[in-house]
Symmetry: C2
Subunit: 249 residues, 2 copies
Amino acid sequence: MLSKSQIGFIKSLHQKKFRKENGIFIIEGIKSIIEFVPSAYQIHSIYYLAEYKSLLPNLPSNIKLFEVNNAELDKISTLQAPQGILALVHIPKSVPVNDKVLKNTFSILLDGVQDPGNLGTIIRTADWFGFKNVICSLNTVEVYNPKTIQATMGSLCRVNIFYQDVSELLEKVNIPIFGALLEGKSSYEMEWGNEGILILGNEGQGITTEVKKFIQFPVTIPRVGLAESLNVAISAGILCSDISRNFKK
Amino acid sequence: MLSKSQIGFIKSLHQKKFRKENGIFIIEGIKSIIEFVPSAYQIHSIYYLAEYKSLLPNLPSNIKLFEVNNAELDKISTLQAPQGILALVHIPKSVPVNDKVLKNTFSILLDGVQDPGNLGTIIRTADWFGFKNVICSLNTVEVYNPKTIQATMGSLCRVNIFYQDVSELLEKVNIPIFGALLEGKSSYEMEWGNEGILILGNEGQGITTEVKKFIQFPVTIPRVGLAESLNVAISAGILCSDISRNFKK
């Protein structure tokens, strides 16, 4: 049985303002929780229907556990169809990316992606292809948005997410910088090499002029038909796949 | 000024039941309308804020035009941020795909895709790569769902959509059948050839056992990292791109 103030607190975390204020976000579903527990993230508390108790993994003793009923879960869940269990997780301290983690790998840099589902799907895709870093411009949608978390399908705990001034970063890095544009070298012919940053832009506006000037290798996905553009997560998927197939082990 | 019954009618079309009953769906935004007007779709009526009138293309005289105010548009729009103009469009008569349109091209077949955004994004992606046909199993989400329409970004009027019993179709077609599975030949090494059907399955369950048995060429996108799966629209994007780069002109 949860108190009114507990319910109010968890519901407040549905909003960005209160996630930021409290440094806590929500994950849902037993699969997510099993993946987050052994990760670098710190779980604050877990709320579960009785039948989910036996599914819980071994937990550090500092995690608070609360059995809830369906009515309570409906109130605190961010989902239309709650998945029986949810957890509050501490937002990790934000650190800027350091040059070392960018070496000998590919990282994705998002310049103003706005749709939470797109961000989540890009993180999941990065995880599939073994890309460890997603760097977000300061005006990119918040990664702790419930729709983003849901779309990552647990991959959030395996991909490092950075929010920072991306121009400042691009100014100083010594690594090839690729950018997805409508005009550029065909991604099928690009020599990707073994390290780099791949920049993808906002859904409507693409990459900003400010960031565009850092692109050394403009790359495009060859168009055959008549669609004006590809969805940004689809572009990310195709380009990550192209990078992955060319990566020399 | 719209009558109460007009507003009620358009609002009813936000629901699948009434779209089906009336054979009408909604498209929004001036770009979509400009793309649909010259297409094979028949526009029923257009509802616009005064400032959008001058942006309208030449219209057949049988299309009814209604100037509306912001309050009215808010009521009839399916969007949180209405785009100033919307149109009602007749749902075309459903015909099953014929063998001829499947020849010398690639078609996408969706076996139970449930998310409207995924379906719309797949149609937009098919259009980008010049694929003309998307065949949907009868339990695939409805293409006239406003979220699907929105995600197609106008590509719906350039891609043929079919809903039918897909087992029946696969039983009789004489064309290579590829299926996206977690186990299969690497998509990077697949010999795609110049025609085929590419099957993609449901978000959670993948391709059904019934449909799986028709797959002649199981294909998989090589995984490097630890994500359990890729989003179905991302898989579609990567595989369409791989087919497109191998297509011999």
